[in-house]
């Protein structure tokens, strides 16, 4: 397929999106990530029954926390696609990058730089 997608996305592989805890998401932002998104299997097709459904709930919870602390919940998103949808994967990468560009950089990253300076 040789599809192109933005190079600023770092892929972290997990056995199942159900492995991703709220803490992983918050830690990414604390370390300076501008946005994160989870790409899980299609809903109803989780190999571990409901890992992707748990992941969606956790993303929603993380969004609430991010909104409360002023980082912006829309920086965290959940997507579902099948492993045969490479084109969609690339599309989502573009969509997410554009979304984050529009929102701007992670304020935590900027605050850390300011304090260090």
């Amino acid at each position: 397929m040789r599809l192109q997608y933005p190079a600023n996305i770092k892929i972290i592989r997990v056995p199942c999106t159900g492995k991703v805890d709220i803490m992983y998401i918050l830690r990414a932002f604390e370390k300076g990530a501008d946005g994160i998104y989870l790409v899980g299997c299609m809903e109803g097709e989780c190999h571990f029954k409901n890992g992707n459904l748990r992941a969606r709930k956790r993303v929603e919870e993380a969004q609430k926390i991010l909104n409360t602390i002023g980082i912006g919940g829309e920086r965290a998103q959940m997507y579902n696609l099948s492993s045969a949808e490479g084109t969609l994967f690339a599309q989502i990468a573009v969509e997410m990058t554009e979304r984050i560009r529009k929102i701007g950089p992670n304020p935590i990253k900027l605050a850390k730089k300011k304090i260090a300076a």
Partner: protein, 222 residues
Amino acid sequence: MIIADKKPIEEIIEEIKDYNKILILGCNECVTVCEAGGKKEEEILASALRMYFLNKGREVKIDEVTLERQCDHEYLEEIRDVVDQYDSIVSLACGVGVQFTAEQYHSTPIYPGVNTCFLGATEKRGLWTERCQACGQCVLARTGGICPISRCAKRILNGPCGGSTKGKCEINKEIDCAWQLIIDRLKALGRIDEYEKLFPLKDWSTDRAGGPRKVVREDLQI
């Protein structure tokens, strides 16, 4: 176990916003099982608070420690050497843990990070229900193992009342009538004749009516 629910982060922020060195103190017992104040929740709260303060341009020291229990002197001693480094503590234990920590460390203000709710059980993940009100005089032997004190809205001992409809309580259609459950259970056990026996007046002095309570076991004391 003791069931607690998470306090909204904004409420915790409001309490501790003026401090600069905060210790988030988790508890490894009941609040861990009901996913309100264990190691995981403590990490999430600490991370959220660190980011909140950074976003406000403040670098606040926020550390995390999870104690095995906060309702025992032995475990609380584990933070004796480090507690002076902090100007406040957010305890994610139940109300007992928060108070015991406050009693041990007089000079550091303690703030609760959870709302302690009741004594209950995990029905399924994410659903906890009340099972005991710690009345101090257990009646479960006579009620087929179903507690009318905690599960009946009126706490009546010779039920059901007139508000029981189709096995549900009048205060909420989703709540089972405890006395309906008791009758069904006694029937299933072949003990329905026991239902005919009236409960004598209950001594409520062992409940909250007698003020703060204590259990004294002289056989265990030296």
